[in-house]
Symmetry: C2
Subunit: 198 residues, 2 copies
Amino acid sequence: MPKQVDHRERREEIARALWRVVDIAGVQRLSLREVAKEAGMSHGQLQHYFASRQELLTFAMDFAAERSAARVADGMARLGADPHPRYVLRLVLVEMLPLHPDSRATSRMNAAYVLEALHDEAIRERTRDGLSRGREQVEGLVRAAIADGRIAADRAPSTETDRLLALTGLTPLLELRVIEPDDALAAIDRHLEDLFTT
Amino acid sequence: MPKQVDHRERREEIARALWRVVDIAGVQRLSLREVAKEAGMSHGQLQHYFASRQELLTFAMDFAAERSAARVADGMARLGADPHPRYVLRLVLVEMLPLHPDSRATSRMNAAYVLEALHDEAIRERTRDGLSRGREQVEGLVRAAIADGRIAADRAPSTETDRLLALTGLTPLLELRVIEPDDALAAIDRHLEDLFTT
């Protein structure tokens, strides 16, 4: 195997170990040492791949975002050509909630990352950029649906975008089992039904 | 000052010190030692008031919930007798977002607490109970508004309650300044406008 590919694969393995630490033990125990242990390597070996906690966190976040994007792309492929924007938005929103093990790990890491971001400028800038780009993509879908007459013309695209993204606020209710996955899907579907006129 | 009152006041002071540590340094640095330092006392003195990190966290959360409830009650008093449920819900939702320093501290602590709850059964039960009770109160308002004809009868009270609580999902967007406070208020107002028929 070429060295570059091997290096990337090892980094991905370490990122997956980080997800498991966040998932099982919590962000409180997220240290290079814990991740090395979970990945079955020494602290020194891990440092060959990631020089700092921040570098590892950043890679793990980027990798999680890539995996999310790939899952959304898979879903889009299943929707077929020229899908209704309502189903595209549904895919994106469902992916943002902790409804299956991969998206749950991503969701927990995102929550931990936002808390880190409040006290680390470099992480804050990256997280803010990522959120802004995601928000712009959703707003693009909303604007296109208004132009197509699928969302009423008197809706403010920016406000409707914020309301859609706010549905991630179902996360703590799901994580603590105050509501069940079907309740979250009902909330998303009702929201999209209210938003789209056709 | 009676000893009991003094004890309670000292515990509240310590809880406020905990909020400041969460606000300034982040949940990563939340230890009894850091809180003692912020409260200007020794680790030993703090342990006279709180035997464990968990006991302190639990008190700080309960105290934050009390302060939130008091702010909502103040807002209710300003609304006058028999307020429209739309304005009551607006008060509750605005209080749940990090729009002023006190609610920001509470919001950050809640986020940290949910992450702790995932890996600590005692905290999970308490957090879940708190969230469930809050959810029931909001659902009570929604059901009453349906009974009064202020919300359409074909709305599912449970789903509309989840959608209202989901608006706390604006929090990361606000914290990372992807949106501004006015954007969050516009999203809340538009949501309530869509929900209420009168």
